[in-house]
């Protein structure tokens, strides 16, 4: 690993100043440290977010659940607020990676890394989440759907800090399922049925999760989704196989949603 300077701010204001000087934010490091060990990234300055108190915690604010940038997968999975209003996210964060990744990794770091097979991304897209971005001079809120541009690529500028993730609280039914025979999931499916229709998100099969919307859960066409979803052939399987498991897992997700209680 190449040498770097370590900065440990205690406030957001201080952190964004360090980012303006070219710092790279990090918290759990579950994605970043391996990438640095492989030499794929060699930041000059790391900005540790772990001492910034306001970036911790999960709260409800004006019909939104707000998750700070420091919130880990474990904290999310255990949160009564998340379990009640965003169950797909509780399911995703209780199963992704392994128990150590869940204990230290953060949701904010996960989506900034934008790993194509991210469980968090699949769930957040289904929930129509947004993210707050802040720099020393500006702040903006962006839909997660617009935030992630492609594999390992987001619209976050280098001087911007992902401060919080916002999830709208809506009455809905939902389901989240995943299939992982190896180190990474082969397919992840999140389905959310709300007043405005049914959203089905298929992750892990391609370079970026596919979002499909239908007037209601009854209208969801698993075969159509499987035919349309973006698929990348890799160690997880060939194209025809991935389309096949997509169809199967969309059907299962919809069956689970129909059986499940409202949440």
């Amino acid at each position: 690993m190449a040498d770097f300077e370590l900065r440990r701010p205690t406030s957001v204001a201080e952190a964004v100043e360090h980012l303006a000087e070219g710092g790279l934010p990090y918290c759990g490091g579950t994605e970043l440290i391996p990438v640095m060990q492989l030499g794929l990234m060699a930041p000059d300055i790391l900005v540790d977010l772990k001492r910034i108190e306001p970036l911790g915690g999960i709260r409800e604010d004006a019909a939104e659940i707000v998750l700070g940038a420091r919130v880990t997968h474990d904290e999310t999975a255990a949160s009564p607020l998340v379990r009640r209003h965003a169950r797909v996210l509780a399911e995703a964060t209780s199963r992704l990676g392994n128990a150590r990744v869940r204990a230290t990794g953060t949701l904010a770091g996960n989506i900034c890394f934008a790993e194509p097979r991210s469980d968090v991304l699949t769930a957040l897209l289904a929930l129509e989440a947004r993210v707050d971005l802040r720099s020393a001079t500006d702040s903006r809120t962006v839909d997660v759907a617009d935030f992630v541009e492609g594999p390992f690529a987001t619209v976050r500028q280098e001087e911007e800090l992902l401060e919080a993730i916002r999830i709208p609280v809506r009455a809905s039914r939902s389901s989240y399922i995943r299939f992982q025979p190896g180190e990474y999931p082969t397919v992840t499916v999140a389905a959310v049925q709300g007043d405005g229709g049914c959203r089905v998100v298929v992750g892990a099969v391609g370079e970026i999760p596919g979002v499909f919307t239908f007037p209601s859960a009854e209208d969801v066409d698993a075969a159509e989704i499987a035919a349309q979803v973006d698929v990348t052939e890799d160690l997880g399987g060939r194209e025809d196989y991935k389309r096949h498991v997509t169809e199967v897992f969309v059907r299962r997700a919809m069956a689970q949603l129909a059986e499940g209680s409202a949440a």
Partner: protein, 165 residues
């Protein structure tokens, strides 16, 4: 080379050191402190052989910067047993022969200890789910699950004051 002054507690002992920013926690524990019970295997946070506790959370010490333990309480496998003997988890690994070559065992013991602290009476499914990120290449998973169930049982017996044989 950039360094950071770190004050921490490792297995109950205060440690103060200047640590290179790029040094990994597992390197610090093994090479500086001589705590070689923590193993390096995959180096990618996948196999669990390097598991230690940082503020009671299980982490892959191969994927954590050593500087990150500043102000934290670190426990390695060497810190589990006391003068009174092995912990119930360690004893259960012995009793159930939950190891063959033993290389993965410190990591498994740490992860199983973490599980039983949060979930004192897990189901076998919960044990398997919790241990998905720990690899044993001697394929000894069944006795490991058995050991966890055994440890949970002996801990709850001890808790309720009844004798368990």
């Amino acid at each position: 080379m950039s360094e950071t002054l770190v004050r921490t507690t490792v297995n109950g002992r205060p440690v103060e050191a200047r640590i290179p920013n790029r040094m990994l926690l597992v390197e610090f524990l093994r090479d500086r402190l001589g705590l070689t019970g923590t193993k390096v295997s995959c180096g990618m946070q996948v196999c669990g052989a390097c598991t230690v506790f940082v503020d009671e959370r299980p982490v892959s010490s191969c994927g954590v910067l050593a500087c990150d333990i500043d102000g934290a309480d670190v426990v390695t496998v060497e810190g589990l047993a006391t003068d009174d003997g092995l912990t119930p988890v360690q004893q259960a690994f012995v009793d159930c022969s939950a190891l063959q070559c033993g290389f993965c065992t410190p990591g498994f013991v740490m992860m199983c200890t973490a599980l039983l602290r949060k979930t004192p009476n897990p189901t076998e499914e919960q044990v398997a789910h919790h241990l998905e990120g720990n690899l044993c290449r001697c394929t000894g998973y069944e006795p490991i699950v058995e050991a966890v169930m055994h440890a949970a049982e002996s801990m709850s017996s001890a808790e309720s004051g009844t004798r368990h044989d």
